[in-house]
Amino acid sequence: ADKEITIILVDHGQAADPFHNVIKRGAQDAAKQMGIHLEVRQPQNFDMTQMANLLTAATNQHPDGIITTIPDADALSGPIHAALAQGIPMIATNGAPSTAHKVGITINVGQDERSAGIAAGKAMEAAGGKKAICVNHEVGNSALDDRCAGFAEGFGGSTKVLPTELDPATAKSKIEATLRSDPSIDTVIGLNATVVGETAVEAVHDLGRTGKVNVASFDLSPGMLKDVEDGTALFVVDQQPYLQGYLPVLFLAQKAKYGLLPAGDIATGPSLIRKDQAGKVIALSSQSIR
């Protein structure tokens, strides 16, 4: 009978991005279960100044908690400090704990993109890869750049970044072109399952080199999981974005209701989903839960 609890989630990903849609889904499910009011704010493109503005706008509404992603600690530290100064509880999500701590947020839910990259790189190296391309659909997005950098570090062998755009036909053509012009490439890692991962599998298939070129991808999509199940792709890197949305809402709701809050960071990833588990995940993935 008291005032409804309001929590605001500010996420740097666009509303149409399938990965960030899962975060949103998790957050919304938690809000429903906890009976609180949740609002999600997303900038139209990867734009740190707009992100800062959205955070400030969120602070102005004096919610009971703010959840934010932190792709650029410097750019967002101002508004985050302002929110903290007003005594609004905050949780960082989707990023590395060190970043969150740097700007003064004590609780982080998520994965360090760089370490996720390293894990993927190691796995691909273990599969026998020597020469890789990292297919990046949004060059300049520092979270994605971190994944490629981490991958290169973990992989050890040579890694080249292939910039593409959000168009499957163009992405596929570019991957085919690269593979054809340098036949020694034996590894393709995609930073996005829908646009890059699935098309990479198809490109390799069209070239008749399935099995000779290993494909893997960050994040999940039903199609990519199917490929993993079929053995045409090696694995997908899962960081459980659903939890990255779900848990912070849960925590902040508890904080608002009872003053409860966990004491430390929670790592939601990285975990690699391989052939054996892929089948079970597909159904969930097509509902935007995995």
Partner: protein, 383 residues
């Protein structure tokens, strides 16, 4: 309308000092056939194409210019080109459509709902998609005509609206996902499927591979399985639009509407009707591209077609269309799309550091356009 026949009386009054009609006028310089040919706006764009191809012939790996490599480049070029030629038509008619990129996502959604949710047969689903797209195009056109706002701002609003509706619609239709799947399964059994997905001339290519005319894979199948169906559509649509533009009444009206809408209206051209039809046409071409890419990829998502409106305008402008309307050609946009495709895919065949990708893309586009333009100006003597 009764045509006034003043021939008998007036012919005697023809000005006496006009020289007898001769095929040679002393006020014209002799020009060679090549110059006459190059004076056509269509052909200016070939210069840039040759330049770009020459650049990659030197810098890129040889595999770029294999049959297979060419098909890889042509497929995205064609998907872009189908909307670029209709966008060029609209630009000649003096208007813009910035909503075509979003329309690709929106039409993909409509197509998915019709095919997968309503289990319509493929043909009907495609028809429904085209009809819905056409209605949105007509709405665009009507708003532009009635409010007399620049089409830039009106279609920009629809860029946002359609993109947003695609997202909302997809999540509603799929129960929360931004991706819709299952197109392959739903369209498997239709006789129309080969018209919208896969490759054409597969038999011919297999025959050629068997006879070692073209490269074959280790298993004996051809390296290039055929001509992607989008390329076939692209060629057919370009031919149809070129014919329409240069030979038909409607084509003349398009040039007139874009050149000076007021003058055209005062001369009795139904400018508003022409523009509405053009908006419908662009929207439908975006819907066709949506169908082709969705059938190609087997899925659609809310980000489909992002920036395609922009690239279509780029292709049309490379091909010599004026942004101010009244001038341009479909063949120019055809070559413009191919130039854009070659430049954006071709760099993957070279050894340049991929960080430099955008720098190269920009520089190559600029050089190609300057070259096109310079060539045309030099040849026509226009200054």
């Amino acid at each position: 309308m009764n045509t006034v026949q003043i021939t008998p009386e007036a012919s005697t009054a023809a000005p006496p000092n006009a020289p007898a009609p001769t095929s040679k006028d002393e006020r014209l310089r002799q020009t060679s056939f090549t110059v006459k040919l190059m004076r056509r706006p269509e052909l200016g764009a070939i210069g840039g194409l040759i330049l770009v191809v020459a650049f990659f012939a030197v810098t890129a790996s040889g595999s770029m210019f294999t049959l297979n490599g060419l098909m890889t480049i042509l497929n995205p070029s064609a998907q872009l080109g189908i909307i670029a030629v209709t966008a060029a038509l609209l630009m000649i008619g003096g208007e813009f459509d910035l909503s075509i990129g979003s329309m690709i996502a929106f039409a993909g959604l409509i197509f998915g709902i019709a095919l997968i949710q309503f289990h319509l047969p493929l043909g009907l689903a495609i028809l429904a998609t085209l009809v819905v797209a056409g209605l949105v195009g007509a709405l665009n056109g009507q708003i532009v005509i009635r409010t007399r706002l620049p089409s830039f701002i009106v279609t920009l609003a629809f860029l946002f609206i359609l993109r947003g509706l695609s997202l909302v619609g997809l999540k509603l239709a799929t129960g929360g996902s931004t991706q819709m799947r299952g197109f392959r399964a739903a369209s498997e059994n239709s006789v129309l499927t080969p018209l919208f997905s896969g490759n054409a001339f597969g038999g011919l290519f297999r025959w050629m591979a068997a006879h070692h005319i073209i490269e074959q894979l280790p298993d004996g199948s051809p390296a290039a399985p055929g001509v992607p169906i989008a390329v076939v559509w692209f060629v057919i649509i370009t031919a149809a639009i070129t014919w329409c533009l240069l030979r038909t009444k409607f084509g003349n009206w398009i040039f007139a509407s874009g050149g000076d809408a007021n003058a055209a209206r005062n001369s009795g051209v139904p400018v508003d009707g022409v523009k509405t039809i053009l908006f419908v046409l662009t929207a439908c071409s975006a819907a066709l591209v949506a169908v082709l890419t969705v059938m190609d990829a087997g899925s659609t998502d809310a980000m489909r077609g992002t920036q395609k409106e922009f690239q279509a305008v780029i292709a049309a402008v490379i091909g010599g269309c004026l942004l101010t309307g009244g001038y341009g050609s479909a063949i120019g946009a055809f070559f413009g799309s191919i130039i854009f495709g070659i430049v954006s895919i071709g760099l993957s065949y070279t050894n340049f550091d991929s960080d430099w990708f955008q720098v190269f893309l920009g520089a190559m586009l600029l050089i190609a356009v300057i070259f096109n333009n310079g060539l045309r100006r030099r040849i026509t003597g226009e200054r």
